[in-house]
Point group: C2
Chain length 191, copies 2
């Protein structure tokens, strides 16, 4: 999506070969206009997929996921990050390791909000190693629901997230795919 | 706001005299239609206040704050919760104690996204003891910006948040004000 790629080139910052900072327009300050255009793109792409719910992971996924939910007129569910396992029959939990931050957390979903009748579109800001995304998919499946696909704003295509998801049979739709970052320069994959 | 109050009566759950669960429509699953109507109400109320930015606290404030930002065509900033102080000249931080959860965190704002030219409207889901709100106000002031007001979805009027904010000179606008909860019954303040 050209609008997002142009904005990444203008305001994103490649801190090193792995880390891209987008905190002035996506994950600390949010540009609502840009986010809405991204949401319209997700909604258009997945409009024939029979989606019943949008899901994301707190907190930076909430903005694009909520606006996609508005566009598609569907409920949003955001999975919560808990520091440790909670013993509670009302919850599904699965552990996620964040390589970027070097931390673990329990991704958490209430049994009340997703069930076997749901076909869930997962939206997130980044796809890198795919740990958060595969955790979200595990939770959806623990709830006996199915996954309609994954929509992400920015894919780091030099990391293994997409291939893990493809192997798991999940359609992944990314609005900007980054081939590499070097010496502060951001290079996108050719469409 | 009648739509929100009706929904609280229908789907909210008073767990005890202090705790109200709204996780099927506000802070785990989100109803985008309801949230948009709430955002329109905030936008209408604060339209003459000269607001330049919307701010909130991750994660449950993001949904109402983002849709208010969309309505008002303004950027959104969400303050992040860090487990501990980060030594970084690019950040403002202030400690917040959550009585509800019995935890402390450092509320964090990048210097890049709010400055002395900003007049900031803070939006959040709940106002109870006012610890999160007063922390957000401290951060805005650390950035040499001014506070246009606070908009909250649900105020627990039996807790001291509102009076703390009034004493601090902050206009507080709440869409639903709860006078008390007892034996599972939720009682609103008269308008």
């Amino acid at each position: 999506m050209q609008l997002l790629k142009d904005r990444i080139l203008k305001d994103g910052r490649a801190v090193n070969e792995d880390i891209l900072r987008v905190d002035t327009f996506i994950n600390h300050q949010v540009d609502p206009y840009l986010m809405r255009e991204c949401a319209k793109d997700f909604a258009e792409h997945f409009k024939e997929s029979g989606v019943t719910k949008i899901a994301t992971i707190e907190s930076s996924g909430i903005a694009p996921a909520l606006l996609t939910a508005v566009e598609m007129e569907l409920p949003l569910v955001f999975f919560k990050k808990q520091p440790s396992k909670v013993l509670n029959d009302d919850l599904y939990q699965t552990m996620v390791t964040s390589f970027t931050k070097g931390t673990n957390y329990e991704l958490t979903l209430s049994r009340k909000v997703i069930d076997s009748s749901d076909h869930v579109l997962i939206i997130d800001d980044f796809l890198a190693n795919g740990e958060a995304a595969t955790g979200a998919i595990r939770l959806v499946r623990m709830a006996h629901a199915t996954v309609a696909g994954l929509g992400v704003l920015i894919e780091k295509s030099f990391q293994p997230g997409r291939s893990k998801l493809t192997e798991a049979g999940i359609e992944t739709y990314s609005l900007a795919r980054i081939a590499s970052m070097s010496e502060g320069k951001i290079n996108f994959l050719e469409d």
